[in-house]
Symmetry: C2
């Protein structure tokens, strides 16, 4: 039945997401994915022929979650830079709370095998846009000339903003361990307050006072 098939496929993908994102491609076990999905290994291979193909699917879905926000940030033209930063940080961190393991998963797997990204862009050409940052650079230049912000290029700004949001999440075990004596509650407070901190920090850094 298609009904049942759809359900099983969803169960498999959900289970695969959890296992792959926590243990990585090489650490994940088909048996564990099957167990989590409530089926057996044979059925796993029936739906996704190989482990690699299942992984590829999980990676694509994970990657697609965080890309649109970045495109929106650099492409949208109806906001001033300060508003853009504030809006982006707000929505990006909300997204991080929903999917805290995706960034570390994506970063790690891409370091192990950068080819994955090339394959992704070949399969999803709608994301492959040349000169994606040109408009944003023009806006930054314009606002700098008008004396609103200091001169800054889009790559450095985006890398900084995204890094400030993501780093406390992917490096959580080490930061929480060293700076917060592994106090989980204290770290959650830190994270909840950091949203406001990031926005103010960025704006103070680029603002002309």
């Amino acid at each position: 039945m298609i009904e049942q098939a759809k359900d099983t496929e969803t169960k498999i993908l959900d289970a695969a997401k959890e296992v792959f994102q926590h243990k990585g491609l090489t650490g994940a076990r088909m048996q564990e994915i099957a167990d989590k999905a409530g089926i057996n290994k044979a059925l796993l291979h029936y739906y996704y022929r190989t482990k690699d193909k299942l992984f590829e699917k999980v990676f694509e879905l994970a990657f697609s979650v965080f890309i649109p926000k970045v495109r929106e940030m650099v492409l949208s033209s109806d906001k001033k830079v300060f508003e853009k930063v504030e809006f982006f940080v707000e929505s990006y961190i909300n997204l991080l709370y929903k999917h805290p393991f995706i960034p570390g998963f994506v970063i790690n797997e891409l370091n192990r095998n950068p080819q994955i990204l090339v394959n992704f862009f070949e399969k999803n050409i709608q994301f492959k846009e040349l000169n994606l940052f040109d408009n944003f650079d023009a806006q930054l230049k314009s606002e700098a000339e008008n004396g609103i912000i200091r001169p800054i290029d889009s790559r450095n700004l985006m890398t900084t903003v995204i890094g400030m949001c993501i780093f406390p999440i992917v490096a959580r075990p080490i930061i929480q361990g060293i700076m917060f004596n592994n106090d989980k509650k204290a770290y959650e407070v830190f994270l909840s307050e950091r949203k406001k901190f990031i926005t103010e920090f960025i704006i103070n850094a680029i603002k002309v006072h």
Copy 2:
């Protein structure tokens, strides 16, 4: 012979570092480490009984490379905050150039198994220092009261500074791929210019203008 033994042990550790840091605990193969070290698997187990023990050694060495700089930053008391930031970014990025794969390796393995960090601090109690950030917080508070910097706490500052240095390295495949069309040379230029960018960005953000 001790002479020979020392040499073999070094060869093994060097090989293990390279393989573990590139492929992770679960992706690494004892065979590959043996090949890189120019010996066979049996000898590998003769020196380090299990894969886990060899990994543990590699992790400890990797982790110890980046910790002292952080302690130095927060503990040293002979510099003003601006100088500290400038000095830290300079020396931390130099260290990153020497060991570009360690941060991603450490972050990833700690996410897979946070217990590693607990074990590390138990074995290396000299690194386990309570209230490590108290002095730095006092300095930040003092300079804020003197109108030199805006109020900021040490955890947010350290997380931001370290994140700005490390993020472009660990997330290199994705940033280079999306923002630089996978142009390796262009990304190297970006990285070389970023050292200065980080220092100025941080100081602008916390300075009272």
